[in-house]
Amino acid sequence: MKYVDEYRDESAVRRVLDDIRLSIKGSWTIMEICGGQTHNLVRFGIDEMLPKEIELVHGPGCPVCVTPLELIDKAIALAARPDVIFTSYGDMLRVPGSREDLFAVKARGGQVRIVYSPLDAVKLAKENPNKTVVFFAIGFETTAPANAMAVVQARQLGLKNFAVLVSHVTVPPAITAILSSPASRVRGFLAAGHVCTVMGYWEYEPLAEQFGVPIVVTGFEPLDLAEGIRQCLLQLEAGKHQVVNAYARSVRREGNRAAQDIIRRVFEPCDRAWRGIGLIPMSGYRLRDEFGDMDAEGRFPEVQAIAVQENPVCISGLVLQGLKKPHECPAFGKECTPQHPLGATMVSSEGACAAYFKYRALG
């Protein structure tokens, strides 16, 4: 497959890693933001092929991981209603709420449907005028334009039976939160290639300047990941802190304007709680007032009161901030496994704990 195979060339990856070994002298800690990158770094063993002085810590860029437990419980409460068809991307269905997951609701006869595209949820609403179709609108900036388009499409079709449960988060405020923590060890970042495909990378330039950290826009294939790491380390060795685009075939500085426009039309920034981390100011999107009638929490106000407590043993908040590694948790691979996850990062295949469990046989 063009644009994939050539970036999985093992000898090219080894060459980039060799260059890192030859040219990097210092000890550095860098963070990849995106859970998809975490998954591939661990899957292809790239983190283990780096010199031991280079540490990769895994960031909070896994929307399934950072969606608050109470929102999962709200989704479950909505899905259990006989007058609702609940629609979601597949990854959310097995995320445990405080008592059960969406699969359990489905098994009991609840109408829970996996959709590939949010437009599929709009189509379901059109075909089922006697039910309210609720779509679980989660994700980072990559997913926000698609979810926004579903809202616009439902409005244009005049559908009154479509609503969204919104849990959108954005990357730059999370980087600010991580770097503002006095405990942070992160000296450089790999920025998420597909978030930047939508948003561009101009937003990261003031962050690199303010915190003195290099930020390298990085793709997802092994060669992209190795090169992103190399570019970040070269800057650290040279005492530089610039934003560099190492995923130029996909990312332009200004991003995709049409996609940004629809995000701005439908959503506005708001404070948002991240599972395992807590509230990060202005780190999410909510529906603008103009589309407020499609807010599922407004449509079914009984779910607004749902509040829950996280499991106190779980250290996923520290893992998501790069302060701990998964296997440093006493529950890792014991009480906490992908089949019985205690917390956010064991839930999704893109969570750092799940990736370590699957590929490192540490369990």
Partner: protein
């Protein structure tokens, strides 16, 4: 979650006011919304995420990046040769 897969546009059409297309992922064809890439043509490669094309992949940039790796490879081979005295 932010998984995006490159695919090639093989057909363009319109449904309910949305620009849509059929996109080929190495043999698997899926329907995709092209509203965010209005300039896209049949034959262009895009990154597809949850049924939406997010960009048009830049072939020129892709070639330049791959050239860079090739040069790195050649340079490394020259260094290796220089390090083996028998071949001098």
């Amino acid at each position: 979650m932010c998984l995006g897969i490159p695919g090639k546009i093989v057909e363009k059409f319109e449904i309910e006011g949305r620009q849509m297309g059929k996109v080929d992922f190495g043999g698997v064809i899926k329907e995709t919304c092209l509203d965010f890439v209005p300039e896209a043509k049949v034959g262009d490669y895009c990154i597809i995420h949850v049924g939406f094309a997010l960009n048009i992949l830049d072939e020129q940039e892709a070639m330049e990046t791959l050239d860079l790796f090739r040069q790195m490879d050649e340079l490394a081979q020259e260094v290796e040769l220089a390090e083996i005295p028998d071949l001098q």
